[in-house]
């Protein structure tokens, strides 16, 4: 019974995801693919949210992943998604390993603002070095090959969806593994009490640093997947508004819960498809108003509604612990 309770929801969700392309129109498959790609970047932000930390700059790694694809195609003509996905992930992790060296020292407003600042540096570089990056025109991305095999045009979208879905599955497993590890637990404790982590013999900076590298890898992979899905790369991938969206979805999904982030990402992408059609000029305001509402009235994010409905919810006074 216990086993069933635990595995029922994931199995149903996987079945739904696997069957989705058969049941929904092709534009919805595209939106779903993009949502899964962005979900990885949302996870990166959500990891830190568990520890009570907010990053307004993870579009940095998202942008790096996307531009890794762009430059590989432009310079070397490599279009193999199976090759570029690990490349983008590694690049994201590599840059995170570098930036993380000083980022791991900071918490609270410093962590938020330093991340924001570093991502703005990349954004302005992408704009200003236009002879390399093509500036606001962006870089076009051809449909990828998979291990040297180029799928026929009409099948590409579905195949790419399954490719993204496979990677999403791997990432979710990896994240659950990470969250169940000592570092994962200590990460959650950062928001509660840092000093006690040190008393337990773990270095807070090590926890921060490892998480930062992982988050960079995740967002980098998300960038690669989104670049192929959209087929066009612009500096906005690294813009603060993009980081803000990741934070928004992570909050919407319940301050760092993995299934919450997944549901949040998909809901967000679909809502945006409609919103950008009917009220493009008030999109950010809509996000802001919803976020205000969640902060002030739903302290655990939208996920609290589900938890309350299924009777699983433990009453949590605060989604994010006092930092």
């Amino acid at each position: 019974m216990e086993v069933m309770r635990r595995w029922l929801a994931p199995v149903i969700a996987s079945a739904l995801f696997l069957a989705a392309p058969l049941a929904v129109p092709s534009w919805a498959v595209f939106v779903l693919t993009l949502a899964l790609a962005k979900f990885m970047a949302v996870l990166a932000v959500a990891l830190f949210l568990r520890g009570g930390l907010i990053s307004f700059g993870h579009a940095l790694f998202y942008g790096i992943g996307a531009y890794a694809v762009g430059f590989s195609i432009k310079w070397w003509g490599i279009t193999d998604a199976v090759l570029l996905a690990p490349l983008g992930t590694l690049l994201g992790a590599g840059v995170a390993a570098l930036v993380g060296l000083f980022m791991a020292r900071y918490r609270g407003v410093f962590f938020a603002m330093l991340n924001l600042g570093v991502s703005m540096i990349l954004y302005s570089a992408l704009l200003k070095f236009y002879w390399v990056t093509s500036g606001t025109d962006g870089i076009g991305v051809r449909s990828p090959a998979f291990l040297g095999i180029v799928p026929p045009r009409e099948l590409f979208q579905v195949i790419y969806y399954y490719f993204t879905l496979l990677l999403t599955g791997i990432v979710i497993c990896a994240i659950y593994r990470f969250l169940a590890s000592p570092v994962g637990y200590f990460l959650k404790a950062i928001g509660d009490n840092e000093v006690r982590i040190e008393y337990q013999g773990e270095s807070v900076r090590r926890v921060m640093y490892l998480t930062y590298i992982l988050s960079g890898a995740l967002a980098g992979l998300g960038g690669v997947l989104a670049a192929f899905a959209v087929g066009h790369i612009v500096p906005e991938y690294a813009f603060w508004a993009q980081s803000g969206e990741f934070v928004f979805v992570a909050v919407l999904g319940g301050y760092g819960s993995v299934p919450g982030s997944l549901v949040g990402s998909i809901a967000f992408e679909f809502i945006r498809t409609y919103a950008s059609k009917y009220m493009p000029e008030a999109w950010q305001t809509t996000l802001g108003v919803i976020m205000l509402f969640i902060i002030l009235f739903l302290p655990g994010g939208l996920w609290t509604i589900y938890e309350a409905a299924t009777g699983r919810g433990r009453r949590r006074p605060e989604g994010v612990s006092r930092g």
Binding site: I54, V109, F110, V247, A282, W283, T285, L292, L296
Partner: protein, 298 residues
């Protein structure tokens, strides 16, 4: 030599605006312990309001000299409206809650204001150059500067001085210091802490809106500057020490000059330079140049 003059004078001009902007941010952080991410939006609001009023006055056929009071009035309206509204409606609900929540709240306000200004004032750049060119120019070596820049620096120093006097020299300032030091004791002594918070936030917002209004004639007022502004302003107060007024002055000077150097010599690296300085300062002195190290909480 000419380059050096340009760097020094431009640096001073940048520093003056950054100073006025950042003492607002640092005052709010010092009293409320909240980093106001919407600070840049209030700055932009001040700029828009001021340009709007100046354009109105010029259109009605008044003398162009009326544009100066209008700049101030525009900034004041923006600050005096945005300040109390944001504090009373939203910020007061998250006092004492997690830092992440407070950041998210001010970020939401930033998002809302960003769009709101586009809807209210349009997306086209607004240019009001009359106040800028009206006062004439003076030359310094081979470079000419408009007198408006001198006015800018003077107004910024006077307003900053006024704020320092309010905090250091008046009864209200003493009450603020007591609220900063110990909120609970202050409540017990009969200080209306809620009102202190509102007034401090409004003063901070006023600084932001005024600096936006003052800079408006020298640039084209465009949407979407809010985040750039709050990022540099944060760099200023982080370098100087969060919550320190002298620190804001020092930080503004450093960032202003660095920005002037970067724009003259390698314009691509403007933001990189500012952030590099900030990271270097934070590595050497985590509490900022003028800040006091906080004792670690257990």
């Amino acid at each position: 030599m000419a380059t050096l003059t340009v760097i020094v004078v431009d640096g001073l001009i940048f520093a003056a605006v950054l100073f006025l902007l950042s003492i607002g941010l640092t005052l709010i952080f010092g009293v409320l312990r909240i980093l106001n991410l919407a600070h840049g939006s209030i700055y932009a609001l001040g700029g828009y309001m001021a340009s709007f009023l100046v354009l109105k006055v010029l259109k009605l056929g008044y003398s162009a000299y009326w544009s100066y009071p209008m700049l101030l009035v525009g900034g004041m309206i923006a600050g005096l409206v945005a300040g109390p509204v944001i504090e009373r409606l939203f910020l007061r609900r998250v006092y004492g809650r997690a830092e992440a929540i407070q950041l998210l709240l001010t970020f939401s306000i930033l998002l809302i204001l960003d769009d709101l200004m586009k809807i209210l004032f349009g997306t086209q750049p607004i240019i009001v150059s009359e106040p800028y060119s009206l006062l004439g120019q003076f030359s310094l070596g081979r470079v000419t500067y408009p007198w408006y820049d001198v006015v800018l620096i003077a107004v910024s120093i006077v307003s900053g001085g006024l704020l320092v006097w309010i905090v250091r020299g008046t009864r209200f300032g003493k009450l603020i210091v007591s609220v900063i030091t110990d909120r609970e004791i202050s409540v017990a002594m009969g200080i209306n802490v809620g009102r202190m918070y509102m007034v401090s936030f409004t003063l901070g917002a006023l600084c932001a809106a005024l600096s936006g209004a003052l800079i408006a004639p020298t640039i084209a007022v465009v949407p979407g500057v809010a985040v750039d502004v709050v990022v540099s302003s944060f760099a200023v107060i982080a370098i100087g020490g969060m919550g320190s007024l002298e620190g804001a002055a020092l930080g503004a000077l450093i960032v202003g000059v660095v920005r002037a150097v970067a724009i003259q010599l390698f314009p691509e690296l403007e933001l990189v330079m500012i952030y590099l300085i900030m990271v270097l300062v934070l590595m050497a002195k985590p509490a900022g140049l003028w800040g006091e190290a906080e004792v670690r909480r257990i």
